[in-house]
Amino acid sequence: MQHFNEPLPLPFLKLDKEGNIIYYSTLALEHFDLQEDNIKSIVDEESYEKLLKYSSDHQTRELQMELVFKSRKTPLALYEVHMVWDDDLYANMLLVPKDGSNQLLVEKMAALQQRLASTDFELYEQREELEQILTRLHELSGPFIPLTDKMSLIPLFGDITEKKIHIISQSCLQSVFSGEYEDILIDFTAVGEVEVKGMEKFVLLLKTLHLMTGKKIKIIGIKPNTAKVLNQFSLDGCMEFDHSLKQVLYRYFRKE
């Protein structure tokens, strides 16, 4: 066993096929007790089996694996081992210590363990149920109603929030895609508060609908508070406005 006298930044070992240590770097000696000059004496029993299993194939030249070593500091030290077989069947190993990088993870895990111990699962399950109800409520707040083969109505209910518009968008786009609708009316009469984020998402939905139908989307029953928020967005002429559903339908059927 010889000392490999180059200032390598990681512990380095060179082994023969039997696992005898031929060369070791300075850091390798600092990390491990190398009195017995075989790798077996510094690798944890179970990891040794893993090493044997994965290093025995000399054809695979480059190998990488996690192994537990008995270091001078602790009998269970995790290292990432990078290994290459050379032409004379010597294994060259660089060992990257891993315990430091896993430390944060272990601490987080302990914190989660604590948190779980104090979790009230009754509350947790009620919350989950509530979330499902809320999603269902959102789905029902923007029903897609076909009026004729070419015309459909989406009345919106309640406050305009990002989550609600997101959920409504999914079902609405699906329905428009599967039918052949040209005129889409969106009725704001039953809308309460309007969130800017929600309106942002709504304008996006309008533009998509406009692209899909090729016609302007008719917006009905805009109140002053909604108009103020809507005015912040560039609408690129993808929509037109009307006072009431009654007016729109009156004009539509008279034309027909």
């Binding site: 029993e45 893993k50 996690e66 895990m109 989660l112 363990q113 779980l116 111990a117």
Partner: protein, 216 residues
């Protein structure tokens, strides 16, 4: 793909929703069978994947925490309202020992059988165990050890707990009990249980004996 392997996949993804759904599909299984036939093999498979150089220790940590969530939620779903307790048991891992999933399952099984339990989880120093045992007086103390290097400490725990005025019954379990002879590290009265099935049998036997005692 087998069911435990499927579950192992969800645990490694940290996907609590899918893992829980998978467990829910097997509602007809008893708590013990869910532990023994699904969760234990799933976690063993996670260990196997590390030995097989397919995942890292960091992945294992994620699977453990996710599994912990599933076990906690399962206990809540199955154990329901607290029962009338008559007997006390305490559970902990030896100092430095981080493998606590098996112990947590054993804790729930005792609860299911009407025991009042204290569960301390991983890494509990011997002084603390002795202090708590003195104050709380459990009939049974369950110790879990999974790493060979921690074995010498087992002896220390057992000796110290044996000195208590009312020495509790010590049960030792964990991965090692399947492959190693733990006797040399234990006292004469220590009970070594290899898996959850042995645990159930012991509990059953224990409960019948105590009922008989009460009848006399």
């Amino acid at each position: 793909m087998s069911f435990p392997k499927e579950l192992a996949g969800y645990l490694l993804e940290g996907n609590t929703a899918k893992a829980w759904k998978a467990i829910e599909q097997q509602k007809e299984l008893s708590l013990l069978d869910t532990y023994h036939e699904i969760i234990t093999p799933a976690m063993q498979h996670v260990g196997f994947l590390w030995e097989n150089n397919e995942i890292s220790v960091a992945d294992e940590h994620l699977a453990t925490v996710t599994c912990d969530f599933i076990i906690s939620r399962l206990a809540h779903a199955r154990l329901g309202k607290e029962k009338q307790h008559s007997r006390r048991a305490m559970f902990l891992c030896l100092e430095g020992e981080q493998h606590y999933i098996g112990l947590k399952m054993v804790n729930s099984l005792f609860k299911e059988n009407g025991w009042e339990t204290k569960y301390f989880g991983s890494d509990l120093p011997v002084e603390f165990v002795v202090k708590s045992a003195e104050a709380w007086n459990p009939e049974v103390i369950g110790l879990s050890v999974s790493i060979v290097y921690h074995l010498p400490k087992l002896n220390e725990y057992i000796t110290e707990l044996g000195k208590l005025p009312k020495p509790p019954v010590i049960i030792v379990g964990g991965r090692l009990s399947e492959h190693y002879d733990l006797r040399p590290y234990c006292s004469e009265n220590t009970i070594i249980l290899k898996d959850l099935i042995e645990m159930r049998d012991w509990l059953k036997n224990e409960q019948t004996t105590s009922k008989q005692d009460a009848a006399f």
